[in-house]
Amino acid sequence: MSESGTLREYVTAEIGGELIGLPILRVQDVFIPESPTRVPLAPPEIAGVLNLRGRILTLIDMRRRLGLGGAAGEKAMLAIGVELRGESYGLLIDAIGEVLKLDEDTREGNPVNLDPRLARVSMGIHRLNERLLMVIDVDRVLDIARESMAA
């Protein structure tokens, strides 16, 4: 039910040259991932696990997850903490941006020719002054095991 003038708040972030936005209510915190542990045999999108204040959190390599290029081995500096069904995740990003209030009405659907890897996690595009902001569906970003198992 998107009434005209409904404003949604998004936390924006840079990853692999793209600007993405996450619904602010889904974002728990932003932190610097310190000494993550790699997990052998894990799906490639999983960058490792780490201890954040006594909880074990799974790090998602957003570059891989979104199928974005980027220098391999380039260390992501930040992670956005999100939760799904009681589990904590950290989405690795290059840089964190400002919080934007955007009108639901101006959100447009995914272009049909959008890379399928992006299309499956994108809820639409906002045209900002300078560039485009892709609205990310956190649940779908985290829907990793099923896809890799089906493959």
Binding site: R38, V39, P40, A42, V49, N51, G54, I56, E87, A145
Partner: protein
């Protein structure tokens, strides 16, 4: 809610659960006065409390039920109808209680239906007085202090009081507040009676805090280790001990016997029996197995569902069972046990087994797979479709199961707690569901190791010993082409590098021949995990893997170490499986282009063979498990005595045997030997070169082929002679067999050896003969049955499990039905020895279960069974 009322609801619910169980028991043992007295007392207490709290509906119901039970206590036999009626009343009471809990008052409604039923039945069953109108009871009102008219169905207080006084009271009820742990160990009968109620949240918080405390303690210890001389040392040690005790105590409060989750099941089974017209016996084993109460709550529903499923779909009707030659009463067995860091729960029935064809049809109809896909799958893989969403094979939708919400719901529930579920089915024999749930909150002791630059934890429980291997030591890792083995005392153990198993690049300093070997045991399988370094053992808090990583079989959880870093906990079961898979994938590489199903099939029947050359260029092979060790000795140490080659080996003279004259015993350089041992004696077979260890299926295609050769088989695409070790043993020691024969008892026990492979028959028969048994061989289950039919001598049956047409399980079952075979000891032989297979063997009635090449184990099992047979 009022505290008093809450207390009442909880307590009454618990009492009712006990009443449920006890009534079902009473129905089966109508003469057992203890049971009915116990039930009577509980219901009386409920009634009394209801009166006190002003809950007329509950009171009236409890009262009517009590009156009927009073009749049973007076010696009137309990009929199914009567028990059903009481159970229905208890259900109604539960409904009212539930409403009471939510609305804090009794819901409106009438219970005349039940009450009049109960009263009628109570009157009708009265042994002393004929049925009389209930108003009769009102006549005694005069004497009472009751200040209201009697409710429908009430007896006078006097009557009841008399009845109650006449009920012998059990030893004083322990109402003292004792720790939960103790209560948990108590009988189900007294369950919940001696405990204080603490909300689960409180315990949960306590547990989290203790976990944090343990981690902090570990951190402190870590720091303490770095400062050798520190005044903190003593208090730190005390803190550590206290933490450990605290942790144990808190863990204990959370643990409950799984029997608590099973309490409702006898009642359910009883109702199902009646509803379905099947006779069902429910066996419960391991009810005392403890697990975390949170996990316990979560598995209650899946367990109930599985049980319903077994009763409804699994078991046949009495007629069907009779015609299938089975006892009329179906059996469902519920068992639980601890295995490693897991609790395993099994629900097994002895029904018809899963209908593979129907599952296939359904899978196709639902678009889960195509016909072509299905052809490639093994039966077991097809059976797994029952866990697919919306899958139900029941033709008709019944009230019990088959509503399309079936095993998939069970699986989802079990998935959520990080568990796994597996199904095994044997047509005509039954289905067993095995649920494996990690004790997720458990704190376990683990060995911290390093591999490929990262640290991992290996649960101490699975570790047998640590071996340091390097070139000069007695324990060496040797490579036979791609397969690494470790010589450890009398055994060759398969070993694998952890870094390789985990698919991480080995560190630069990697040296294949050195490293630490963690000798690990899973079930009957022993193997070595090679790691780069071993640090120390640490108490770790097992945290479940993220749901995104749970599919990785190598890990069973992760944990936070003392220094704050996260490490993975290795699952020894996963490693054991991976070792098997490596072999299978090598096989696939060699054969090329086989389908997955074929490979799986072959892997199941594959045998580890040691390939070597001796004399001719043609490769020869011998099953690896028959070989005690591989040696390479300095040829100058070989002595010639009385025309025979000997060598001093481990303080004994060991004879060297040549395959034939074409083999030369070297006079200098290194001489490779295959050492075979039997008890204290060893002999060595002189070979030119050890070539490889391969995992392959053994099909002897050409039998015979000279002395000491069983025949030829194609191994890795080459015709290979299979060497008969049994032939060479007597060559080494002329008295090898004779000695045994002298020791043998006057009457030799007759062994019937059933195996479809001529190789095994030929290989085992001499070995068994040497051990003092008379051996008859059979190439199939049918042949074996014919032998028994003909009255052939049989004292013990040894059967292979994997055979075409009639497998070992089916044969055993057929034997059990045979007049001569019912009591025969049966030993199962298999190349797959897993806990599951052993459990299944036990189900069909194997007396013992031995790995195919475990010759010592087989003979030990035979001796044991024949002793048993003699004693009987």
């Amino acid at each position: 809610m009022d505290d008093l009322l809450r207390e009442f609801v909880t307590e009454t619910n618990e009492s009712l659960d006990v009443v449920d169980v006890e009534l079902v028991r009473f129905e089966r043992e109508p003469g057992n006065a203890t049971i009915i007295n116990n039930v009577f007392r509980l219901v009386h207490t409920i009634k009394g409390t209801c009166g006190f709290l002003g809950l007329p509906r509950l009171e009236a119901l409890a009262h009517a039920a009590e009156a009927l039970m009073g009749r049973f206590r007076d010696g009137v036999p309990a009929t199914t109808d009567a028990v059903s009626l009481i159970l229905a009343t208890i259900d109604r009471i539960k409904q009212i209680l539930e409403a009471l809990e939510h609305e804090q008052r009794e819901p409106d409604g009438a219970d005349d239906d039940l009450i009049s039923g109960l009263t009628c039945m109570a009157e009708g069953l009265d042994p002393k007085k004929p049925a009389q109108p209930q108003q009769q009871a009102v006549g005694t009102l005069v004497e009472q202090v009751l200040e209201r008219p009697l409710l429908p169905g009430e007896d006078s207080l006097d009557d009841l009081e008399r009845a109650f006084r006449a009920t012998p009271v059990d030893p004083p009820q322990r109402r003292a507040k004792s720790p939960l742990g103790e209560a948990a160990k108590d009988d189900a009968e007294r369950n919940g009676n001696q405990s204080i109620r603490v909300s689960v949240d409180t315990l949960e918080k306590l547990m989290t805090m203790v976990s944090e405390l343990v981690l902090t303690r570990n951190q402190l210890l870590e720091i303490g280790r770095r400062h050798e001389e520190s005044e903190f040392k003593t208090p730190l040690q005390r803190l550590s001990n206290v933490t450990a005790e605290l942790q144990e105590g808190v863990m204990q409060t959370r643990m409950q016997p799984i029997g608590n989750a099973w309490q409702k099941l006898p009642r359910i089974v009883r109702d199902l029996s009646n509803e379905l017209g099947k006779h069902i016996d429910l066996e419960m084993q391991g009810a005392e197995t403890e697990l975390d109460r949170q996990v316990l709550d979560l598995i209650k529903d899946p367990l109930t569902h599985m049980l319903r499923n077994s009763a409804d779909h699994g078991l046949e009707t009495p007629e069907e069972r009779r015609s299938a030659g089975k006892p009329e009463r179906g059996r469902i067995r519920l068992s639980a046990w601890h295995e490693g860091g897991f609790i395993v729960i099994q629900v097994a029935d002895d029904g018809r087994g899963l209908d593979t064809e129907r599952i296939k049809a359904k899978a196709v109809a639902q678009g889960l797979a195509t016909e072509a896909d299905l052809d490639k799958l093994s039966e077991q893989q097809i059976h797994k479709f029952i866990f697919a969403p919306g899958f139900s094979t029941a033709v008709e939708v019944t009230s019990i199961s088959g509503r399309g919400v079936g095993m998939d719901v069970v699986r989802t529930n079990i998935d959520q707690i990080g568990g796994t579920i597996d199904v095994r089915s044997v047509p005509g024999v039954g289905v067993s569901f095995t649920v494996k749930i990690p004790l997720t909150l458990a704190i376990v002791s683990a060995l911290i190791v390093e591999a490929g630059g990262d640290r991992y934890a290996i649960p101490q429980l699975a570790v047998i010993e640590l071996v340091r291997a390097h070139g000069g030591s007695e324990h060496r890792i040797e490579r036979i082409k791609d397969t690494a083995v470790l010589r450890l005392r009398d055994k060759l153990l398969p070993v694998a590098r952890l870094s390789r198993l985990l698919g991480i690049a080995p560190s630069a300093a990697e040296n294949v021949e050195t490293g630490f070997i963690v000798v690990t045991q899973v079930g009957t399988q022993t193997f070595g995990i090679v790691v780069d370094a071993v640090f120390h053992t640490e108490e770790i808090v097992v945290k479940p893997m993220s749901s995104k990583l749970r599919h990785i079989a190598m890990f069973c959880g992760n944990t936070i170490l003392g220094d704050g870093s996260v490490i993975m906990i290795i699952d020894p079961n996963g490693i054991a499986q991976a070792l098997g898979r490596t072999a299978a994938s090598q096989l696939q590489g060699a054969g090329g282009g086989e389908t997955a199903a074929e490979t799986a099939e072959e892997a199941a029947q594959a045998t580890s063979l040691l390939l070597f050359r001796a004399g001719s260029a043609r490769p020869k092979a011998v099953p690896l498990s028959l070989v005690t060790r591989l040696e390479e000795i300095d040829a100058r140490k070989i002595e010639l005595s009385n025309g025979r080659h000997m060598i001093q080996y481990r303080g004994q003279l060991m004879p060297l045997v040549r395959m034939d004259d074409s083999v030369t015993v070297r006079s200098d350089g290194a001489q490779p030997l295959l050492v075979f041992s039997d008890g204290l004696r060893s002999m060595a077979l002189v070979v030119d070169e050890i070539v490889d260890i391969v995992e392959d299926r053994l099909d002897i295609e050409v039998a015979g082929g000279g002395e000491g050769v069983l025949g030829s088989a194609i191994i890795k695409g080459q015709a290979t002679e299979i060497v008969d070790v049994g032939h060479f043993l007597p060559l080494a020691f002329e008295d090898w067999f004779r000695r045994k024969e002298q020791a043998a008892t006057p009457r030799r026990r007759a062994v019937l050896l059933v195996d479809d492979s001529p190789f095994f028959r030929n290989m085992l028969a001499p070995v068994l003969q040497a051990a003092g048994f008379d051996v008859t061989t059979a190439g199939s289950g049918a042949e074996a049955l014919a032998h028994v039919d003909d009255g052939g001598a049989v004292d013990i049956v040894i059967t292979d499990i994997e055979m075409p047409d009639m497998d070992g399980f089916a044969l055993t079952q057929a034997l059990r039905r045979h007049p001569r075979g019912a009591e025969l000891p049966v030993i199962g032989l298999s190349s797959i020895v897993s806990a599951e297979a052993i459990a299944r063997g036990r189900e069909v009635g194997f007396h013992d279960y031995v790995a195919k090449f475990d010759r010592q184990g087989l003979i030990a099992a035979l001796k044991e069974q024949s002793e048993f047979g003699r004693a009987a």
